[in-house]
Structures are given as structure tokens and as C-alpha cells.
């Protein structure tokens, strides 16, 4: 091998080694960068988990039970002497409850007026998870409980107004101000409506929800006539009215 050829071979080898070295360096840089990204992500995940775990997410404060409840802890609507009791387990976020309300509110109005039926509303909050963290179900239930406590005559009107303006599932729900405005439109005084913000009955709403679970309620709306679950069609006007009138007839 001539000297020149040897030099060239040496140069080629050096170039190859340099290329190999560059490649290794690039991989090392990539691995390092990846490691940093992984560490960063882990830290971020842990931070988020900790902040959301320590955040006071649930309804807070001590349990304050609204006044004017029935002996079994429901919010009553209508004349206490009506022969038929209609218990309604509801969640203000539940679209099915909205359809139930739409179909039957008119008939229920009439039956309440006539003194045939009294309602016992049992608000639930399990759909809190579908309002992007704003806990709409709890906020709405708290508003209803506040009205039951301080302006019991407007409970049914507020419930109807909330359903007439029901937000879609998966949205943040109605804002606190909007709930106040609806309540005022429904005849609640501004003073009472302004108390919603304090969230006085949020803990009670959570308890109402848990009690319903314990009572074996599996979904909303669940409707009971004099304690027995009504299994008929809830989503057209008629069947429920019939069942109530039948129960009233039997009671007389």
C-alpha cells in the first residue's frame, strides 16, 4: 500500500468514526431530551393529582338541613293533605328528567291545584361529573333547597324554570347568576335568591343523593306513587296522570 493510499484509508476511517460518534451523540441527546420530557410529565401529573386531590372539590361545610322538609327528608310541593304522594328523584342535569318534566309538568300542575297530589322532590347530584367541574347538579339542588327553606311556595316554579332552561349534559351548566335570575323570574325574592351563592345546602344535596343511593335508586328520574315505583311511561303525558288518579280514587 502506498503512503497516499494509507493516508486515505486512515482518513476514511476517521471520517467513519466521526460519523459514528455524531450518531451516538445525537442518540445521547435524544435520550437525554426524552428523559427530561418524561421527568417533566411525571412532575406535572403528580402536581395536577395533588392539587385536584387537595382542592376542596366536594360540597363543603357542615350539613344544614333546609326547613319545611317532609319527615322523610324530601322537599314538599302542594297541599299536605292531598291523598296521593308522588316522590320524584331527579337530577337537574339529567336530560331524561327534563323530558319527564316536559311531558308531565302541566298535568302535575293541574293535579297539585286540585289537591289530588303532593310532590316530594328528592334532588340528586350524581351527574355533577357531567358539568365540566362546575357541579351544576349540586348548585341547582342547593338553589332548590334554599327556596324550600325560605320561600317554600316557589319550589315548584323554580324546578320548572330550571328544567325549562336545562343545560345540555357535558356543558358547564347554567351560571350561578343565571340560576338566580331564573329564580327571581319564578317569583323568588331577590334576597332569597342571593343566598344561593353561599351554598348553604350543598352538603344537604350530597346527603340527599347518598340517601337515594342507599334507598336503592338506580337512576333518574325515578317516580314513586305512594311509595311504589311507577313503572309506566314517564315521557308522555297521560300514563302518570292516570296512575295518580287511580291511586286517588283508591284512597277515597
Amino acid at each position: 500500500m502506498s503512503k497516499q493510499a494509507r493516508i486515505r484509508a486512515h482518513e476514511v476511517r476517521l471520517a467513519q468514526e466521526r460519523a459514528e460518534q455524531r450518531r451516538r451523540n445525537r442518540i445521547r441527546v435524544a435520550v437525554g431530551a426524552g428523559g427530561v420530557v418524561i421527568a417533566g410529565l411525571l412532575v406535572a401529573i403528580i402536581a395536577v393529582v395533588f392539587t385536584s386531590a387537595s382542592k376542596d372539590a366536594g360540597p363543603s361545610g357542615k350539613l344544614v338541613t333546609p326547613a319545611n322538609l317532609t319527615a322523610s327528608g324530601a322537599i314538599p310541593v302542594g297541599s299536605a293533605t292531598a291523598p296521593v304522594t308522588l316522590e320524584i328523584y331527579l337530577d337537574f342535569m339529567c336530560p331524561a328528567c327534563g323530558r319527564f318534566e316536559q311531558a308531565n309538568a302541566g298535568e302535575l300542575d293541574r293535579l297539585i291545584q286540585a289537591g289530588t297530589v303532593k310532590l316530594e322532590l328528592r334532588p340528586m347530584t350524581f351527574l355533577d361529573k357531567t358539568s365540566q367541574g362546575t357541579r351544576y347538579s349540586t348548585r341547582a339542588a342547593n338553589a332548590l333547597a334554599t327556596v324550600a327553606d325560605r320561600a317554600p311556595g316557589s319550589v315548584w316554579a323554580l324546578s320548572k324554570a330550571l328544567y325549562a332552561n336545562q343545560p345540555q349534559e357535558g356543558t358547564p351548566g347554567l351560571s350561578d347568576q343565571r340560576i338566580v335570575a331564573l329564580a327571581v323570574e319564578a317569583g323568588v325574592t331577590q334576597e332569597v335568591a342571593d343566598a344561593f351563592d353561599a351554598g348553604i345546602f350543598k352538603a344537604w344535596a350530597a346527603k340527599s343523593n347518598d340517601d337515594a343511593f342507599k334507598a336503592g335508586i338506580e337512576g333518574t328520574p325515578t317516580v314513586k306513587i305512594n311509595g311504589k315505583v311507577f313503572a309506566g311511561n314517564l315521557y308522555t303525558a297521560g300514563p302518570l296522570t292516570e296512575a295518580i288518579e287511580q291511586a286517588a280514587g283508591g284512597a277515597k
Binding site: 418524561i38 410529565l41 367541574g133 314517564l234
Partner: protein
């Protein structure tokens, strides 16, 4: 230590590991698709099922199940999983048994599965930002689809099945040999976890 790393490295690139991972992931995906399909059929058969907000429902309140995104092609998306996952399972089992599929076959599998992956992530995006409900089984589909995709891609790059330009192929082969793909998958999964805890953290831990 170096010996152990070397062994792990060999295991990670061996068919047994790759296709077992693929098999397990595709079975999980099939299971999730099955559960979601049954749920969808129940919803369709019982008019009351999607009319009430059931606490124990697999899909929260029928929200995910009844959204238009959940039956993009006019039938429940989960049916697609029932159709596609058994093919992956077959591929994984045959490969474990020693079958080597032709390049064109593996390439086609890669293309179709990539479309499936894009669809899975589109659905995840929709359910996170438009439907707003968390659906554990859908999440299992996303994760297992990602794992199947990563193993399939690993195999196809290793075996040069993708008809790539030589330079791209060489670069990807180097990446795989340096285990950078593993890093990519880990980062990917962590991003997924982060997105979920950011979006749903207060519900999961609240």
C-alpha cells in the same frame, strides 16, 4: 448490569415480546369493544335504557353512547373494534407461531391500523372536549390501540416492511435500535395520563 440491559434489549426486540404485547393489547381492545357494543345494543333495544340517567351505566347517562360521534357511520363505533381486533389477534397469534407475513400484507395492516388509531384519537378528542364525559371502556380502547400501533410499527420498521426511502428507513432503524421508540411510547402514554388528570382530575380524586 450491562448484561441485564443487553438481555432486556434483546427481549424487547424479539418477536415473542412484540407479538405478545400486540396480542394482549388487541384482546383488551376487543373486550372493551365488546362491552361497548353490548351497551349500544341494549341502549337501542330498550327505549327506556337511554331515557333515564342510570348510575351504573357503563357509559355515563348515555351521553357518550348517544352522541352522534359514537355512531359516525350509522352504527356504533364499537362494532368497528369487533371487526378489526380479531384480525390483529390472528396476526399476532400466527406471528407468535412463526408465520412471516409478506411485506405487502404487513404494510396494508400498518395503513389500516393507522387509520384506526387516528379514529380512536379523534373519538378521544371529541369525548374530552365536546361530549365532556369520561368513559373508562373508551379509554381502554385508546390505550390498547396505541400499544398495538406501537408494536406493529416497531415490527414493520425492524423488518423493513414499510417501503420507506432508504434514508428514512435507516434513521428509523437506528431509532428503534437505540430504543427511542420506547421513549416515544412512554412520553405518549404520559401525555395521555396528563390530559386525563388535567381534564378529569377533580372528578377522579375529588
Amino acid at each position: 448490569m450491562a448484561g441485564l440491559l443487553g438481555r432486556l434489549h434483546r427481549i424487547r426486540h424479539a418477536n415473542a415480546w412484540l407479538f405478545t404485547t400486540m396480542l394482549v393489547s388487541s384482546c383488551l381492545s376487543l373486550l372493551a369493544s365488546f362491552v361497548l357494543s353490548v351497551e349500544a345494543v341494549t341502549l337501542a333495544a330498550d327505549p327506556n335504557a337511554n331515557l333515564s340517567c342510570n348510575i351504573n351505566s357503563v357509559i355515563s347517562c348515555g351521553t357518550v353512547g348517544s352522541a352522534w360521534q359514537s355512531h359516525l357511520f350509522g352504527f356504533p363505533n364499537a362494532f368497528l373494534g369487533l371487526i378489526a381486533e380479531p384480525v390483529v389477534i390472528t396476526l399476532a397469534v400466527a406471528s407468535l407461531a412463526g408465520v412471516r407475513f409478506p411485506r405487502g400484507f404487513m404494510f396494508a395492516a400498518q395503513v389500516v391500523y393507522t387509520v384506526g388509531l387516528v379514529f380512536a384519537y379523534w373519538l378521544l378528542y371529541q369525548s374530552m372536549f365536546h361530549i365532556g364525559a369520561l368513559c373508562p371502556w373508551c379509554l381502554l380502547v385508546t390505550v390498547s390501540t396505541t400499544l398495538v400501533f406501537s408494536t406493529l410499527t416497531h415490527v414493520n420498521i425492524r423488518d423493513r416492511n414499510l417501503f420507506l426511502p432508504p434514508r428514512v428507513q435507516a434513521a428509523l432503524s437506528t431509532m428503534i435500535r437505540a430504543n427511542l421508540d420506547l421513549m416515544v411510547v412512554v412520553i405518549w402514554m404520559l401525555v395521555l395520563v396528563l390530559a386525563i388528570v388535567v381534564k378529569y382530575g377533580d372528578r377522579l380524586f375529588g
